[in-house]
């Protein structure tokens, strides 16, 4: 019951807040005290994209127990798909005025569009790719990982290796994605100029809508029978398997859904910040996204949204005021939340949500258990 109400409250806050901000921006005079400046609109739009990513992470970490350290990769892939569409829209307005080739390709001396850029002049194709590419990658990755029962920290480390490898790959110029500089200098989306304020308000509102839709979707997923099995997999995977379920199938489905949601988040992110480059793949970004979820409250969808918005708000304020302090602050946040606030902010004032059980008792931890018999072998 509480969970239902929480959902409604969250949805109301996200949608209501977005509409209110849009109204304050468009309907008030720039000199008015109530006026919401443009930078606030694009900032909020960015936060909402991060909230979509946080939802995706919470879906796999909070409900399936997969600590992903590489979800930034899906986010960035979605972003690149949208970036490619926006690059194609520049057309002859680029520095080299080439109608088909983006500037960076002309610059490195290419004279033909690579095959994987075909179709990105259509918006629908780019949006489909923003979901399909992360989805296919996630499916391939999850298919191998879950079937061979890689779990726990091993899975975390290989997700990190995945995003790290993608970052290195996208840094290469001959990949055809702009290399180090990525893609930027976008002009318009679906014919709307990106530098016009109504466009950014529109994008922010659409992001809020997509976030709400993702929220409803994930809420439905986790509240269903499917979600119950997921939680069982999270808490004791082997017992669930013995009861006759196939944990790997459940994990694969939720992993796939999560990657596609993250991809959509990335696709919305790029037109609002105006740039996409390989640093979005940096492992640090993905881990930072995990801490948003941890701060808000792992295993509560509303907490993920709240955490993403709060932490990024703090980041914006701190990095502009005291840039040196931000790394200390986020570092301390990692430590304090894991030590003292294992259920995040939501844990402070909700009691009847499904509790997050610590993964295991000390004796059952793979590393320690393995080490038991290892200790004698080490010396020998």
């Amino acid at each position: 019951m509480r969970a239902e109400r929480l959902t409604v409250v969250t949805l109301g806050c996200v949608l209501g807040g977005a509409v209110l901000l849009a109204a304050l921006n468009l309907l008030t005079a720039p000199a008015s005290d109530l006026h919401a400046p443009n930078f606030v609109i694009s900032l909020v739009g960015k936060y909402l994209c991060y909230a979509i990513l946080a939802l995706a992470i919470d879906l796999v970490w909070g409900y399936a127990g997969i600590l992903t350290l590489g979800h930034g990769a899906f986010f960035a892939l979605g972003g690149y798909a949208m970036g490619m569409y926006l690059m194609r829209q520049i057309g002859v307005r680029g520095v080299y005025a080439n109608p088909t080739l983006p500037d960076f390709m002309v610059f490195i001396g290419w004279n033909k569009l690579p095959w994987y850029w075909y179709g990105f002049d259509h918006f629908w194709f780019a949006v489909a790719m923003a979901m399909l590419v992360p989805g296919i990658l996630a499916f391939a990755f999850g298919w191998f990982a879950f079937r061979s029962r890689v779990s726990g920290v091993y899975l975390s480390i290989i997700t990190q290796a995945l995003t790290y490898a993608l970052m290195l790959a996208f840094f290469r110029n001959d990949m055809g994605f702009g290399g180090n500089n990525g893609m930027t200098d976008f002009k318009e989306i679906l014919g709307f100029p990106l530098n016009r304020e109504t466009t950014s308000v529109g994008l922010m509102l659409i992001t809020a809508l997509v976030l709400s839709a993702a929220f409803v979707l994930t809420h439905a997923m986790t509240g269903s029978r499917f979600g119950k099995v997921l939680i069982a997999v999270r808490d004791t995977e082997s017992r669930t398997r013995f009861l006759g379920y196939r944990p790997e199938s459940y994990k694969l489905v939720v992993w796939l859904a999560s990657a596609m949601i993250a991809g959509i988040g990335g696709a919305l992110y790029v037109p609002q910040v105006g740039i996409i480059n390989p640093s979005e793949f940096a492992p640090g970004n993905s881990i930072e996204a995990v801490i948003w979820v941890a701060v808000g409250g792992r295993g509560t969808l509303a907490g993920a949204v709240l955490g993403a918005i709060l932490v990024n708000l703090a980041k914006t304020m701190l990095t502009s005021a005291l840039p040196e302090v931000w790394l200390f602050a986020i570092g301390a946040l990692f430590i304090l939340v894991t030590l003292f606030l294992p259920r995040g902010i939501m844990g402070l004032f909700t009691t009847c949500l499904p509790a997050v059980v610590p993964e295991a008792t000390p004796d059952a931890v793979p590393g320690i258990a393995a080490a038991k018999s290892a200790a004698s072998e080490i010396a020998g």
Binding site: F144, A145, P283, F334, L339, P358, P366, G367, A370, A379
Partner: protein, 546 residues
């Protein structure tokens, strides 16, 4: 190693051809004399173009002119002057304490007007040429090492004009190694000169073929308009050199791979304790390595300030210092953070990631974001040549150090009191406690041991990598890969994993480039974990499955 047959070939050859060679040499000398006179040895040394000037320095050094050493030294010291405006006779002066002397003759001259003089400028490429030239001038040095270097310089120059000089040196040379290089230099100069009979040229090509390296190859392939027999011999010789170079290249890759493996091994040994034995995912491991590297920097600074005499031993002092500093940091981390998170690996991962951010920012705030300058002692610099391989001495030291550290760690775990306690606690914590072992203390010391080793790895890394706040990040993923590939909780596996990854990385690199090699290794890891989730040396039995 292949000296034996080569010497044999030379012995067989020397007796019938010796006299003939001598006669030919005299002919050659008379032939080349007018050529040399027309190429005045001081011609290019005052050139305005640095490259021409560098060539001029080399030409002067190999010319055998008695004034060469004096003039080159003057050039190095910035005391060589020339006429400001181009003049056909290109006068050269050396400034002394009392006035100017003529560079060519050494005779004092009346001081020219300063407005007409231009000091000959020395840039880096010229300085390098001067260094080589000074070597070449050492051909009469009593030290055979210096003569060997000089002969090498003459070989690299392979200047037909220097043939007389080489011939003179060869006549008095009694060291076999120096004589061999001199003969090669002679052969090179002779082939370059484009004179001599076919038999002479073939002999020269044979002489050069005994020296399979890149400079010989480029020398041989630059030779043109040779008689068909000689050209065929050259092609064969180049083929043989290419084959040998390929073999040496292979050996070199293995060496680089082992050297990279040693670095990985150092970085991963500490992790094999904290992650492998204790099961703690420490994402701040790389930052502890970084703290070890900064300890080296601080130790070197303190020594420079208070005990400059110990300059050469700074690293030896830094090793225990880094162990203590990093170990103490590790104990502190375990007591204040890790111990609350035992049995919750995912939370440990997040908390230690936060810790790594804090440590990075702390070091950045204290020392600044730029790279710190850590110097190498003399006994760690330089390189030794081994056949076609050049082994840098600091890499050799690091390989040795990695083996020593791993050996010491194994010894401590096997025979040390701490090692016994560690094994007891990991095997059966409650039983160990019942036997009177203070398990919390053992936990703290185990973590301290792993961190201390990470600190020592930092000392080694400070010698080959930039000491910056980001130092640790470059190694953390690799270190985890090594431990995972080798199998958790198995130090032999760690050694094996480090070497495999190092060698694979270096072998893939030439084909795909450094970045793709990294990606290939990561993909390999992902596939590897799919196939063997427990590492190369899995633990058998039901304990392995949690």
């Amino acid at each position: 190693m292949s000296r034996g047959p080569r010497e044999g070939r030379r012995c067989r050859r020397s007796s019938p051809h010796g006299l003939f060679a001598c006669v030919l040499l005299t002919v050659l000398l008379t032939l080349s004399a007018p050529v040399r006179a027309q190429q005045e040895p001081f011609a290019n040394i005052a050139s305005m173009t640095a490259d021409v000037e560098a060539q001029g320095v080399t030409a002067l050094a190999v010319s055998g002119n008695p004034r060469a050493a004096t003039v080159i030294n003057a050039l190095r010291d910035g005391k060589l002057y020339t006429w400001k405006w181009p003049r056909p006779d290109c006068p050269l002066y050396i400034r002394t304490d009392t006035g100017f002397v003529d560079a060519r003759s050494g005779a004092p001259v009346t001081t020219p007007a300063a407005s007409n003089l231009r000091r000959v400028i020395v840039n880096d490429s010229v300085r390098a040429a001067i260094e080589i030239a000074e070597g070449a001038l050492d051909l009469s040095s009593p030290s055979s090492a210096a003569r060997l270097k000089a002969a090498e310089v003459l070989f690299q120059a392979s200047d037909p004009g220097a043939l007389a000089l080489v011939e003179k040196a060869l006549a008095k040379e009694h060291d076999a190694n120096v004589a061999r290089v001199l003969r090669q230099a002679y052969a090179a100069g002779q082939l370059k000169s484009g004179t001599g009979s076919v038999a002479e040229r073939l002999a020269a090509v044979r002489e050069l073929a005994a020296r399979p390296d890149l400079s010989t190859r480029s020398l041989l392939s630059s030779l043109q308009s040779q008689p068909p027999a000689v050209a065929a011999a050259i092609t064969t010789a180049i083929g043989a050199i290419d084959y040998k170079l390929k073999l040496w290249g292979l050996a070199e890759n293995v060496y680089y791979g082992i050297s990279l493996g040693a670095v990985l091994l150092l970085a991963a040994s500490g992790l094999a304790i904290t992650f492998g034995v204790m099961g703690v995912i420490n994402m701040a491991h790389g930052e502890i390595v970084m703290v070890g590297a900064y300890t080296t920097f601080v130790v070197q600074r303190v020594i420079a300030a208070f005990a400059p005499a110990l300059d050469q031993f700074g690293l030896l002092i830094a090793v225990p210092a880094a162990f203590v500093v990093a170990g103490a940091l590790g104990v502190l981390i375990e007591r204040t953070l890790i111990r609350f998170l035992y049995g919750r690996p995912l939370e440990t991962l997040l908390a230690t990631w936060g810790l790594s951010l804090i440590l990075q920012q702390a070091v950045r705030s204290i020392f600044g974001p730029t790279n710190q300058d850590v110097s190498s002692p003399e006994w760690m610099s330089g390189s030794i040549a081994f056949g076609g391989l050049t082994l840098t001495i600091n890499r050799l030291w690091i390989i040795l150090f990695a083996i020593l550290v791993l050996g010491a760690l194994m010894a401590v775990l096997r025979w040390g009191r701490l090692g016994r306690n560690i094994r007891a606690v990991t095997q059966n914590r409650r039983m160990a406690a019942a036997m009177g072992i203070r398990t919390p203390l053992v936990d703290a010391l185990t973590f301290g041991l792993g961190s201390g080793i990470a600190g020592m790895a930092g000392v080694a890394l400070s010698q080959i990598d930039n000491v910056s706040p980001n130092l640790g990040q470059n190694y953390i993923i690799d270190s985890f890969i090594v431990v995972v590939v080798g199998g958790v909780g198995n130090l032999w596996g760690t050694l094996f994993g480090a070497m495999i990854l190092g060698v694979v990385d270096k072998f893939v690199e030439p084909f795909f480039g450094a970045v793709l090699a990294k990606i290939a290794v990561l993909v390999f890891l992902v596939l590897f974990i799919q196939r063997r989730p427990q590492g190369l040396f899995p633990l058998k039995g039901r304990v392995a499955e949690a």
